[in-house]
Symmetry: C2
């Protein structure tokens, strides 16, 4: 029934996944390009997804005691330089403000690429005693990184995110908060975005500039590439020492605080597209779908059809469902295609015959299934179906991920898998960065993480054959 013209507007994902992705973000009206190179407009359909992500993530943060704040978008160069590893990691990719109004600045300012240094500068003045701890602050803002190659949502010069920054009295408490937030991220991805993730620790090579340990959640996209979807860093007392953040503890001695930071970004929208999308466009998990149900009247010129559609909308809206009626003068086929392109989870089809029979058709976006249901208890039927869809989408994504996760015991196996079967590769590692470097150089694959759930696949490193220390997930990544 869906109209072909709109569907033909997007490239098939098997033919060219990258082009399919670009087509979907444009045709589902999530973004537009701008005159500002590497920056995008997030359009209403895209921004509404971000608002739902924000709301649900922010609620989860606040349940753990997080408080929101706002810090300046500018960082004086001298401040950025205080922590050596940090400035080395970020200086090559920041934008510099050199003039304010008509005058050159005495000291140039970078537009924040991340705000560790600003939070440290703030905490240095705000923390005096153990009574001031812990600080568990977060901010929602945009950051800038001067990337050379950009892709909507996945890598752009400016993106939206949240960045949590905490300070604690002990190393133990900092480590616990780092893991707690990683778990919040993982639960959020699985329960809200219907996206299974692997939790683990980054190798030293891949950790955040200035961190003692970086933890990550890694998801597998439909094309078999990995996407780092959220990170949580434990800084130990490194930043505290560089910035002089000390407090008087209960025993009346001066101590350095221990810090963490953790962030998630608009790249999650890219993840949703690449985990759930198909050749008809976007497929949104109900919990982040700005419109969950679209009622499409059939033969809407006939008496009573539009009224019935409006009545169903009212009934569903009352139960907290995000629902709209498409009563435009387009053909039903065109409306079906649009609803599919935009990823709306359920379509309700209602025409004169349905009304006469006291029923309607529910079409599921995630698997194309159509079911005839009674108009009695429609609210319950639809709300239950949204839950079923949310759950099925997770299970489908998990099955895809699991069936695209392989084991390699030596370099030959690793090469074969990476060349022929895109996905995650589990392999043992000796812990030596030389092996990581070699695998990256030869196959453009990186260590995604050392998962919390370790397995002993073999005794030797996949690369050098020396005794193995850790199982690592490897993959090509966005």
């Amino acid at each position: 029934m869906a109209d072909k013209k709109l569907v033909e507007a997007i490239t098939s994902m098997d033919e060219d996944f990258a082009q399919w992705y670009t087509d979907v973000v444009k045709k589902a009206e999530l973004i537009d390009y701008t005159s500002v190179k590497g920056c995008m407009v997030i359009k209403p359909a895209g921004y509404a997804i971000w608002e739902l992500i924000q709301k649900q993530l922010d609620e989860r943060f606040k349940e753990t005691g997080v408080q929101n704040v706002y810090l300046p978008m500018f960082i004086p160069e001298s401040l950025l330089q205080k922590e050596k590893d940090h400035v080395e990691g970020f200086a090559p990719e920041v934008a510099w403000v050199t003039h304010g109004g008509l005058n050159p600045l005495q000291e140039r300012l970078c537009v924040r690429p991340t705000s560790e240094t600003l939070f440290c500068d703030f905490y240095k003045n705000d923390i005096h005693s153990y009574r001031d701890l812990p600080k568990v602050y977060n901010q929602w803002c945009s950051v800038v990184r001067w990337e050379k190659e950009t892709r909507p949502f996945l890598r752009s010069r400016e993106f939206l995110w949240q960045e949590g920054h905490t300070a604690h009295a002990t190393a133990k408490e900092a480590e616990e908060r780092t893991i707690q937030m990683l778990n919040v991220y993982a639960d959020f991805c699985e329960q809200v975005l219907a996206m299974p993730v692997i939790k683990g620790r980054k190798t030293d090579k891949e950790k955040f500039a200035g961190a003692e340990a970086t933890y990550t959640i890694e998801a597998l996209m439909h094309d078999g590439k990995a996407l780092q979807s959220g990170t949580s860093h434990n800084f130990g007392d490194g930043f505290a020492k560089a910035f002089g953040i000390q407090f008087t503890d209960k025993d009346n001695t001066l101590k350095y605080v221990h810090q963490t930071s953790w962030g998630m970004t608009t790249r999650l929208i890219g993840a949703i597209i690449m985990v759930h999308g198909d050749n008809s466009g976007l497929v949104l998990p109900p919990k982040v779908a700005p419109v969950q149900v679209c009622v499409i009247p059939i033969q809407q010129h006939k008496e009573g059809v539009l009224e019935k559609a409006a009545e169903l909308k009212e009934r569903l809206a009352k139960k907290g469902c995000r629902v709209k009626v498409d009563d435009s003068d387009k053909s039903p086929g065109w409306k079906f295609s649009e609803q599919e392109m935009r990823g709306i989870p359920i379509r309700v089809e209602i025409g004169p015959k349905d009304i006469a029979a006291n029923k309607c058709v529910l079409a599921r976006r995630d698997n194309g299934e159509k079911i005839e249901v009674s108009l009695d208890d429609l609210e319950e039927t639809v709300m239950n179906l949204l839950d079923v869809i949310q759950n099925d989408m997770f299970e489908r994504a998990k099955k895809h991920r699991d069936s695209h996760t392989y084991v390699a015991k030596n370099m030959e196996e690793l090469e074969n898998i990476l060349n022929e079967k895109p996905g995650f590769v589990k392999a043992m590692w000796c812990g030596d960065q030389a092996c990581e470097d070699l695998i990256k150089e030869k196959y453009s694959a990186t260590s995604r993480c050392m998962p919390f759930e370790q397995e002993q696949l073999s005794d030797t490193c996949v690369c050098c054959g020396k005794p193995a220390k850790k199982m690592v997930y490897w993959g090509r990544a966005y």
Copy 2:
């Protein structure tokens, strides 16, 4: 009962209003200064107010059909220059990015001081036909204006705001939307912030750079100075012509769109402080108070007191009240002072004697009144009292404003009032900018607006004595 030490920490408002303001923003822990000159940290107590403002304003926007989007924070210089008046107004006060990463940019970018030019660039590509209209978009973001003198919330180099940008098929529809949003702002200020405002139009001298007409809401602070609290601009088709934003109308001819923009900022928090605050600190209207009720246990070491305090908190929270218990080991007097400094609308005092008598004391922050009430129906009593406080705060602010609004018929009267009775001055005006300039030069007072509710105070201009055209509100302003 309140502790003197904390109260003494702030200057009396009659002694030095500016210092009182600075003391309150610091001692109520709303902001902190930073190493970035002219920029501030908005701390949890300040940011939570902004979140409540955002939520309630955003709901009002969405009820009128507004959709949220996000546009880049950078504007290429050539884009900023497209509308002549606009660039003249803003170029002297923008921050310029000249380097991205290690390389100089080919074209420098300014950090958005406002986003008319970006929205025009976007609309130019997004609007083709009358079917694409109206566009009623808004974004929540921060903007930068390189101010020389700054004050927390009132004037800072970076501030948070929302900016709405709309495009319409006709001049009439644009004018209607401009007024509609001004009305949304006025209702919000009066109903949510308990702050009465004067609605009116700016003179040509005071209007926004590039606008055909600017409408404003003006509020009176406790010291008699005016604060512009929100503005709504009608651009006509000026920007559309500069940027070439055309659409094919129903009659198949190409037409220019008509545009509006409107904004409110974190300066509203400054307005709340200066309209409602007193010598004990902040006084928050219940609708924007992050904590509405603070339960303070008396003799909390006695058996059952903390349990009862927790029980009352639970009961109130269940009714949707934002409530906390202060069970820290500070003295009750200190806790009272803190609650007063932070502007929490209601304090619940509960001790062993109260519990025995099945009652507690409610202390109102806005007028200091204390009442003994039964613990039965406490929820209803408290929720009703919050409404009463919200209403009383509005009436008190209105009375203050009305009793500080004067009439001047000539320059002598104007001078006397401005020198001796800080407040609004209503006076007639011939419409000639020379008179506005003279009044500003002589008395540092500006035309705040030509109010919608016009009165005929006399027939002649307060300044030149020529026939009067409009009644104007004059005042010294922040």
